[in-house]
């Protein structure tokens, strides 16, 4: 099977005011694959992932140049419907951020906004999303409980379920496990592998072993530049760039 690209990023630049945070970044996101972004703090990996569904629009003085497209359509074109873009490209953050409402309402919130009203249909979405997020067995008998009563790992999977409820194509994860214990981390990692059957996953992580375990492609970033982007097995066994080698073997700075 030939990999098709969901996203194409070509010579992309980003400034926060005077400061350039992304410099000539080029990479592709392959459909139904897990793509990991690694690099030291401040290298621009979170900035890059936030560009993918225009979360940076919310930052004052943020300016971009270059091309970033989703299914061939320029994400930064004036005609792009940002609401629709964020529906298609969901995002999971470092700290689980469920809404302070019931488990069920967390899941149905998005579909309701997008016009789903039939109770049967909403029930079906709740079950499907929770199953896909590997959470159904743990919460099916407490759907009316507050989401905040769940454990951290469960809350994170609930956030993933909430993203899945509106049928995204791409799921962006910004350090989704850094606030979780090893067992919850392992569940999220398994989940990322499961999700790639139906979705495309882009994950930012500080944990290199995690990137090596779960991703198909890895990009290494450093001071705003994409230093190396290649197949994960290649990057972690024989990186092409000396900087990548030094970073992943811990001989940096």
């Amino acid at each position: 099977m030939i990999d098709t690209n969901v996203m194409d990023i070509d010579k992309f630049n980003l400034w926060y005011g005077e400061k350039q945070a992304l410099i000539e970044v080029s990479m592709n996101v392959r459909k139904n694959k897990v793509t990991a972004l690694i690099g030291p703090s401040g290298c621009g990996k979170s900035t890059l992932i936030r560009c993918m569904n225009r979360m940076n629009d919310l930052v004052d003085g943020c300016r971009v140049e270059g091309r970033m497209s989703f299914n061939g359509q320029d994400i930064y074109d004036k005609s792009t419907d940002v609401m629709l873009l964020r529906k298609k490209i969901g995002m999971i953050f470092q700290k689980p951020n469920p809404f302070p409402m019931s488990v069920r309402d967390n899941i149905t919130y998005g579909p309701k906004i997008h016009g789903v009203t039939k109770p049967d249909e909403l029930d079906e979405i709740v079950e499907r999303s929770l199953r896909q997020a590997a959470l159904w067995d743990e919460v099916h008998d407490r759907l009316e409980h507050s989401a905040l009563s769940l454990s951290g790992g469960q809350q994170q999977r609930l956030c993933i379920a909430r993203t899945l409820s509106i049928n995204p194509e791409v799921i962006l994860m910004d350090e989704p496990t850094s606030a979780l214990d090893p067992i919850a981390t392992s569940k999220i990692e398994d989940l990322a592998g499961e999700l790639q059957k139906d979705y495309t996953v882009v994950i930012v992580t500080h944990n290199m072993q995690q990137a090596a375990r779960i991703s198909d492609y890895t990009g290494f970033m450093y001071i705003g530049r994409m230093i190396e982007f290649d197949r994960t097995d290649k990057v972690f066994s024989k990186p092409s760039d000396e900087l990548t080698e030094r970073y992943i073997t811990g001989r940096f700075g």
Binding site: M208, Q209, A212, F236, S237, K238, P239, T244, E245, I248, T249, G250, R251
Partner: protein, 221 residues
């Protein structure tokens, strides 16, 4: 990560030492055979035990590195090579021990067979073992270029040892058992060459990340 660098340096030294010991033992095994030196043969057998001990020791150390550091890239390739290399070195040690045991057996059973080809095989095999150990130690594979030729040489010598001994068997059937020993020794030395080639492949992988079969594409190095 300073600790990992130090551990890797130390393990490089341990494996180099083990490799030098293996080459020494191999050389002595054939010398003990050619000179009917039982004392030297016994020394080889004793030293093999130490080689087997080193294998376990270094393997444990490599596993410890895997657990503690989960090495990546060149560190991963080093650790993987170390793990495989000690196994191959131990086998070469084992073949040397077998040759030493044969030397003890053959001392009391003199034959008319001249061991010239066996000695030549030993020279080539020892050179191959020393070569891979130094390539590993210096992370430089330049001297591994002619390993196919050396391996071919061992195969040719082995065939010639078999032919010579079969001739001797026909002339002197009372010593058939002794001649079969020489044939076995040639086989051990040929296997030493194979194991040295396997180590060479791993060292090439360690240094360049390339997987090359020594009896295939190594010429393209």
């Amino acid at each position: 990560m300073k600790k990992l660098s130090a551990d890797i340096k130390e393990m490089t030294n341990s494996i180099t030492e083990m490799g030098e010991l293996v080459a020494e033992v191999l050389e002595k095994s054939v010398n003990s055979l050619v000179n009917s030196d039982v004392g030297m043969a016994e020394e080889v057998i004793r030293k093999y035990d130490h080689i087997a001990f080193l294998e376990t020791l270094i393997e444990d150390e490599a596993l410890r590195i895997l657990i503690l550091y989960q090495p990546m890239a060149s560190d991963m390739r080093f650790t993987a090579t170390a793990l495989k290399m000690v196994t191959y070195l131990e086998r070469i040690g084992k073949y040397s021990k077998n040759i030493a045991k044969a030397a003890i057996y053959l001392r009391d059973r003199p034959t008319t067979y001249r061991m010239i080809d066996v000695y030549s095989m030993c020279d080539v095999a020892v050179e191959m073992v020393r070569g891979v150990v130094s390539a590993f130690e210096n992370r430089n594979t330049d001297n591994l270029q002619n390993y196919i030729d050396m391996d071919d040489k061992l195969d040719h010598y082995r065939v010639s040892v078999i032919e010579d001994n079969v001739k001797h068997m026909r002339i002197d059937p009372t010593s058939i058992e002794a001649y079969t020993y020489y044939i076995s020794i040639a086989k051990y030395l040929e296997r030493v060459g194979d194991n040295a080639c396997k180590i060479a492949e791993k060292v090439i992988y360690m240094v360049s990340g390339k997987r090359i079969e020594i009896d295939g594409a190594v010429r393209g190095l």
